[in-house]
Amino acid sequence: MTGAYVASIDQGSASSRCMLFDRRGRLVSVAQKEHRQLFPRPGWVEQDAEEILGNVLQVVPDALEKAELKLADLVALGIANQRETTVVWDRDSGRPIYNAISWQDTRTDKIVNRLAAEGGKDRFRAKTGLPLTTYFSGPKIQWILDHVEGARDGAERGTVLFGTMDTWLIWKLTGRHVTDVTNASRTMLMDLRSLDWDDELLEAMKVPRAMLPEIHASSEPYGEAGAPLRGLPVAAALGDQQAALFGQTCFAAGEAKCTYGTGSFLLLNTGDRLVESTHGLLTTVGCRIAGEPPTYALEGSIAVTGALVQWLRDKLGLISSAAEIETLARTVEDSGGVYVVPAFSGLFAPHWRSDARGVIAGLTGYTTKGHLARAVLEATAWQTREVIDAMNSDAGTVLRVLKADGGMTADNLMMQLLADNLGVPVVRPIVAETVSLGAAYAAGLAVGFWPNVESLRANWHKAAEWLPRLDPETRERRFRKWKKAVARTLEWVDDDDE
């Protein structure tokens, strides 16, 4: 092996990025290209899988060029991808038979509701770890097979193929039709225990087995790429949030990370234990390294975190940039008893109440915009607290430190509030691009660039740490108030609402 760098592709909802990392896990180069998001009807979100492939094939050489490296300097390529987005293509022509249907697309609500009517939203939870919602791939496949002429016949004969973005890219790069366990765990078609497609699920979703990829480990050499990346081993695939968990080196049970962006994703490694949530969290595969058993994870997502700051900026105009919220929030000592619960489209984990709508509670004549700004930052902290409490309770573990990443970690006050309101230290790693790093790590491991996960741990360094400063009495008193504010969001939506 002569190369000294690993490439990773972060194939996201809005763009594809290539990042190159050296043996110490340091970011060496970045190239990015955005793709179009298509909105043909309200609630429909599509992407052009061929455009995305073209972008991926461009950002790898772009990243190499920026760092003045050659293809031969790379030892492997890993892929982290937007999860659940569904591509269906013709095996012989190699062309998609329909646009990729995004995870955000809600056209499958009828299919999902019909399935739920026959046994409840949680009828597949024991097997898949997932509730019936529009995000997951299975119903999206069904929709395409029902709406594209000849698709179902082709799927049954195995000439029409399905894949999430990882599968589509690997098929195009190497010619193999494979996926990894983490991506497969988001289709609602895989049994979490057997790690294989499940006949009962396939039948319920009306998806023929012949169109499905083989399920492989997340870190495993899948094959070598052809031109224009000729000879490059494609050696990892993970869903983006699982990749971030891996990039944060949360390899042991009890370790958790939260990625803070527009929304936020908290994943807790539960090791070899498949924990079924009683609090509405998702059970998912965290990762599987070739030759090893899988690690499972609990996932809690928070729909509105950075989006609440954007709301303050774009809809209320209280700040002119997202970063300014910290300046405004620092004009006051605390939130002055104000609580903002951003239940913009209902409450998600762990409450799951679609009848809820947002509230600002505790307003008095004393309240200033500074208090409001601070309450907005605290809302992210309290929502994280609720998900962590649910995870601790489901998994029977106690989180001792939270590893945070994502763009919002630039907000130091929010990081401090997080530590204060959780009562545990919050640390930020030196490589904030944990999604890309995770895919690179998994690929490098698969080809022996790194000997084991322990060597990856040595690459993880604290860039900053925030310790809890709030006394426990104040923390719990404020949390009680937060819960009261949450209670006030409930039963807001009426059947005859305009």
Binding site: A323, E324, A410, I430, A463
Partner: protein, 254 residues
């Protein structure tokens, strides 16, 4: 309504004229345009010069608007904004140099630390965001000071605090050192704040080429220096990250 203050009206007129098309005007031109005696206009100009609103171009002896004006008004860059734009670059500087990284801005005659990345060795470190450092004894401060002659002029006649035997406490000597900082585009402090500790900094500029902050690595002199001078590879890392952040802030690429 109280009567307007005539001297302020006249000062405003001078500034309006200097912001006009000509940009630079001589004393004669200004007094002709204002219809006032040269002596009166000279008095106004001298006061404006003292507060940094007007500068005299040494070559042409003409007057122009001063740098201190740029610090007023809408061009102010929020420190939190600077941190959020600099985050990835500061991380990468810490990873490449294996040293502590800090970003500072001017604040009341001192350096305000707006961002801090731990040295990547997992030793016990405490976040220093929000702390204030002396301008004259740190690389961060010198990089800022070299671009802010007005702030420097305010130090004139003041006793600069001595922290170590190497601290520059003489304003004249500091002025000479800052000329060198401006010329080469980076600043250093070698044991000037804490014995045995040093730092290397470069200025961060925005689209109007105004220095809005500085970024520095710091650590023990044995690691940072070679024969008493900052290691050239580390200087290059610092300057590259300052350039990258400046580019992200819209500065003209160079």
């Amino acid at each position: 309504m109280p009567r307007p203050i005539q001297s302020i009206q006249r000062a405003a007129q001078v500034m309006h004229l200097l912001s006009g098309r000509a940009r630079r005007l001589s004393l004669v031109e200004l007094s002709a345009q204002m219809g006032l005696p040269k002596g009166t206009v000279f008095g106004i100009l001298r006061t404006l010069q003292q507060v940094g609103f007007v500068e005299k171009d040494p070559d042409s002896a003409k007057y122009q608007l001063g740098a201190a004006l740029l610090h007023l008004g809408s061009t102010y860059l929020d420190g939190n904004e600077l941190r959020s734009r600099a985050l990835n670059w500061a991380d990468s500087l810490a990873a490449r140099s294996n040293e502590t990284v800090r970003i500072g801005t001017l604040h009341d005659g001192r350096v305000l630390v707006v961002h801090h990345v731990f040295r990547p060795d997992d030793s016990y470190q405490v976040l220093q965001v929000g702390s204030l450092l002396p301008l004259h004894a740190t690389a961060l401060g010198k990089a800022l000071l070299a671009a802010s002659p007005y702030v420097l002029s305010e130090l004139d006649g003041e006793e600069l605090t001595r922290f170590t035997a190497r601290t520059i406490t003489d304003v004249k000597q500091l002025t000479v050192a800052l000329k060198e900082v401006k010329r080469r585009g980076w600043a250093a402090d070698i044991g000037e704040l804490v014995d045995g500790e040093g730092s290397v900094a470069a200025p961060i500029t925005d689209r109007s080429e105004r220095t809005v902050g500085s970024i520095a690595i710091s650590g023990p002199i044995e690691r940072l220096c070679e024969s008493e001078l900052p290691r050239s590879d580390l200087v290059a890392y610092v300057r590259e990250s300052a350039r990258a952040i400046s580019r992200d802030l819209g500065a003209i690429p160079w």
